[in-house]
C-alpha cells in the first residue's frame, strides 16, 4: 500500500471525478468529493514525511532524497516514472491542502453562484483539475507532464465558465483563457518535441544527464526548445506581459474556483518552469544560451509595477486581487531570476505563502459575495462593521500581501530582499520595497471603505457569513499567520528544494 502512494494521490481524484458524474445527487457528490480531497491531502502529507523526514528523526537528511515509482513496473528511461523530491512534495502538500480546504467551503458558496443542476459537474471538474495539477508535480516524464497540464487546463476552462450564472462575461473570459492556454500548451509541446528529437528520451533525469554530456552539440536546438518552453510556461503562469487572460478569468469565475485556481494553478506553472530550467536543461546550460535570468528579472520588475498600479484602479475587488496575483507572480519570478540558493528559497517560500494568503483573500471575498451578492468596491461601505469576522480575515490577508512583519508575506519579502542584497543589487531591493508600497495603497483602499465609511442608508441589513464558510477562510488566513511566525518548516523545506535545484550539497 505505502509504496503505491505516489500514484494513488493522482488516481483517487481521477477516478472520483467520473464517479461524481454518475452519482449526480448533490449532497452525496459533495460528500464524496470532499472526502476524496482530504484523503488526497493525507496521502501527500505521508509522502512529505517520507521524502523530508525519511529517517524519521529530523530535517538533516540528504537533499537528494527522492521517492520514485515505476508505472506498471516498466523501468525508468522507457516506462513512465513518478519521481517525488523535496520540491514536488512541498508543492503537492500545498495543492492538495488548499484543494481540500477550498472544496470544504464550496457547498454553500456554490449554492449561491452556480446553477444547482451543475453542482455535480462542478465537483467532477474540480477533482479533475486537482488530479491534473498533482500529476504535473509527481511525474518524471516530460510528455506525461504535458498531458496532465492539459487535463488541469481543460477542467479549469470549464470551471471558469460556470460563472456564467453571475455574468455572461465568464464565458468570454473562459474562451479567451482557452485560446491563450492552448497556445501556451502547444508551445510547451513543441519544446518537448525538440528536446526529444536531440536526446531521444522523455524521462527528465535521463534527458538532463544526456544534455549535460553533449550539451554543446545540441546548443541550437536546445536554445529553440528553451525559447518555446519559457514562453509557453510564462503564458500559463501569467507572467507579465502574457497575463492578459488572468484578470477576466479570475474576476468572473465563481468565488470557489477563483480561490482554488489563484492559489494553485499559476503556482504549478511556476513549478514547471523551475523543473525545466533547473533540473532538465540545468542552469549552467540554460543561462549560457540566453540571459534568461536578466530577461526574467526585467519582466518581473515591470510586471510588479504595472500590475500593482492596475490593481489600484480596479472597482471590482476580485479583479483587483487578480491583478495583485500577476504582481505576486512577478515577485516569485524575481526570486527565480536571482538564480541563487537564497533567491530560489524566497521564490519557493512565496509559492506557499502567496497560495495561502491569496486563497484566504478570495475565500473572504466569497463570503462577502454570499451575503451581499456583489464584490464591487462601492457596495462594501461599512462592511467591516456588518461582517466583522470576514472582514478581519480579509484585513489580515491584506497585511500579509503587503508583507507586514509577523505575517507570512513578510517572510518571503525578507528572504527576497536579502537575496538581492547578497548579490549587491541595491536597486532591485529598493524596487521590491516600493512595490510593497503600491500593495499598501490598493489594500488600504478596501480597508478604508470597509471600516471608515458608513453603509449607504438604503443598504439591506446583512449578517455574518455562515460558519461553514468562515472556518475554511480562517484556516487559510490562520495558516498564513502561523507560517509567518513558525518558519522552520516552510523555509527549511524550501531551502532544501532550492539546494536540490541548484545541485548544491549542504
Amino acid at each position: 500500500m505505502e509504496q503505491h502512494l505516489p500514484v494513488l494521490a493522482i488516481v483517487v481524484p481521477l477516478i472520483a471525478a467520473p464517479l461524481c458524474v454518475l452519482i449526480r445527487q448533490r449532497t452525496l457528490v459533495f460528500g464524496t468529493a470532499i472526502t476524496v480531497c482530504w484523503a488526497t491531502f493525507a496521502m501527500t502529507v505521508l509522502l512529505l514525511l517520507r521524502v523530508v523526514y525519511c529517517d524519521g528523526s529530523d530535517l538533516i537528511t540528504p537533499a537528494a532524497n527522492v521517492v520514485t515509482y515505476q508505472m506498471g513496473g516498466w523501468l525508468a528511461p522507457w516506462g513512465i516514472e513518478y519521481r517525488i523530491d523535496s520540491l514536488s512534495v512541498f508543492m503537492l502538500v500545498i495543492v492538495s491542502g488548499i484543494g481540500a480546504v477550498v472544496l470544504s467551503y464550496a457547498p454553500l458558496s456554490s449554492a449561491r453562484e452556480i446553477h444547482r443542476e451543475q453542482h455535480y459537474l462542478f465537483c467532477a471538474a474540480y477533482l479533475l483539475c486537482m488530479a491534473g495539477l498533482l500529476g504535473i508535480l509527481v511525474t518524471g516524464d516530460l510528455f506525461n507532464l504535458f498531458v496532465f497540464l492539459e487535463i488541469s487546463s481543460l477542467s479549469s476552462y470549464a470551471l471558469i465558465s460556470l460563472g456564467a450564472r453571475q455574468s455572461r462575461k465568464a464565458l468570454t473570459a473562459a474562451f479567451q483563457y482557452l485560446v491563450m492556454g492552448t497556445i501556451g500548451a502547444t508551445f510547451i509541446l513543441i519544446g518537448i518535441g525538440l528536446l526529444y528529437q536531440v536526446t531521444g528520451t522523455l524521462n527528465m533525469a535521463d534527458m538532463s544527464s544526456r544534455l549535460s554530456e553533449n550539451g554543446e552539440v545540441f546548443n541550437k536546438v536546445v536554445l529553440v526548445a528553451l525559447a518555446f518552453l519559457t514562453v509557453g510556461v510564462s503564458l500559463k503562469m501569467a507572467l507579465f506581459p502574457l497575463h492578459a487572460w488572468l484578470p477576466g478569468a479570475y474576476a468572473y469565475a465563481p468565488s470557489v474556483v477563483t480561490a482554488f485556481l489563484a492559489a494553485t494553478a499559476t503556482k504549478v506553472s511556476v513549478y514547471i518552469l523551475l523543473r525545466l530550467v533547473f533540473t532538465v536543461i540545468r542552469p549552467e546550460l540554460a543561462l549560457q544560451l540566453v540571459p534568461l535570468d536578466k530577461g526574467l528579472m526585467l519582466l518581473s520588475l515591470i510586471g510588479i509595477f504595472v500590475a500593482s498600479t492596475a490593481a489600484i484602479y480596479q472597482k471590482n475587488i476580485k479583479r483587483m486581487l487578480a491583478y495583485s496575483s500577476v504582481a505576486q507572480i512577478g515577485y516569485i519570478a524575481l526570486g527565480i531570476s536571482l538564480a541563487s540558493v537564497s533567491g530560489l528559497t524566497a521564490a519557493i517560500v512565496h509559492l506557499l505563502n502567496h497560495a495561502m494568503i491569496k486563497g484566504g483573500l478570495f475565500l473572504a471575498m466569497g463570503c462577502i459575495a454570499y451575503r451581499l451578492g456583489s464584490v464591487e468596491i462601492d457596495d462594501l461601505r461599512g462592511i467591516g462593521r456588518r461582517m466583522p469576522v470576514t472582514m478581519f480575515a480579509w484585513l489580515l490577508g491584506g497585511l500579509g500581501l503587503i508583507g507586514v512583519p509577523t505575517t507570512a508575506g513578510f517572510i518571503s519579502k525578507w528572504y527576497l530582499v536579502s537575496a538581492a542584497l547578497e548579490k549587491d543589487w541595491w536597486p532591485v531591493a529598493g524596487l521590491i520595497l516600493i512595490g510593497s508600497l503600491l500593495t499598501l495603497i490598493y489594500v488600504w483602499r478596501v480597508v478604508e471603505i470597509a471600516y471608515f465609511q458608513s453603509p449607504v442608508e438604503s443598504a439591506e441589513p446583512v449578517t455574518e457569513a455562515p460558519l461553514a464558510m468562515l472556518v475554511p477562510t480562517w484556516i487559510l488566513i490562520g495558516a498564513s499567520l502561523f507560517f509567518g511566525l513558525q518558519t522552520s518548516f516552510s523555509v527549511g523545506v524550501a531551502r532544501r528544494a532550492a539546494e536540490m535545484l541548484l545541485g548544491v550539497v549542504s
Binding site: F143, E150, R168, L171, L178, I183, T186, G193, Y196
Partner: protein, 126 residues
C-alpha cells in the same frame, strides 16, 4: 539548396504553424479562431510524426520469419514512439475543440453573436 529542400517537412510544419497562429490572432469570428487553433496544433503533431519517420522505414510490428531465424531484422523500422505520443495529443486536441465549440454555443446564446468585436462592444455598454 539541397539541404533546404530536403528539410521540406519542417517547411510544411512552419508554414502550417504560422498560418494557424495568424488565424487565431487576426480573425474576429470565434469559430474561425478555433479552426486556426486546430491548424496550429496539427502542425505540431506533424513535427512529431516526421521526426520519427526514417526513409524506407516501416511500422515496427512483427519480425519476419526469416529475420527471426537470422536473428536480426532485414528491414529498417521507423520510431513508433512519436506516433503514439501524438495519438494522445490528438485526443487532447479533440477535447479542446469540443470544449471551445461548447463555449461558443453558450456565448452565442448569451450575446447573440460570435464576432469578437461585437461581443466587446456589448461588454463595454453593460
Amino acid at each position: 539548396m539541397n539541404t533546404v529542400l530536403s528539410l521540406y517537412n519542417y517547411w510544411i510544419v512552419i508554414f502550417l504553424m504560422m498560418t494557424g497562429f495568424y488565424i487565431v490572432i487576426a480573425r474576429q469570428n470565434l469559430v474561425k479562431k478555433v479552426i486556426g487553433l486546430n491548424i496550429f496544433q496539427i502542425s505540431v503533431f506533424l513535427l512529431y510524426i516526421t521526426m520519427g519517420k526514417i526513409e524506407n522505414g516501416t511500422a515496427p510490428i512483427l519480425l519476419l520469419e526469416k529475420d527471426l531465424q537470422a536473428g536480426e531484422p532485414s528491414q529498417v523500422y521507423s520510431n513508433p514512439l512519436p506516433s503514439v505520443l501524438i495519438l494522445t495529443a490528438i485526443v487532447v486536441g479533440v477535447a479542446t475543440t469540443a470544449l471551445a465549440l461548447a463555449l461558443i454555443v453558450r456565448i452565442r446564446e448569451a450575446y447573440g453573436t460570435i464576432e469578437e468585436h461585437e461581443i466587446l462592444e456589448q461588454d463595454l455598454e453593460s
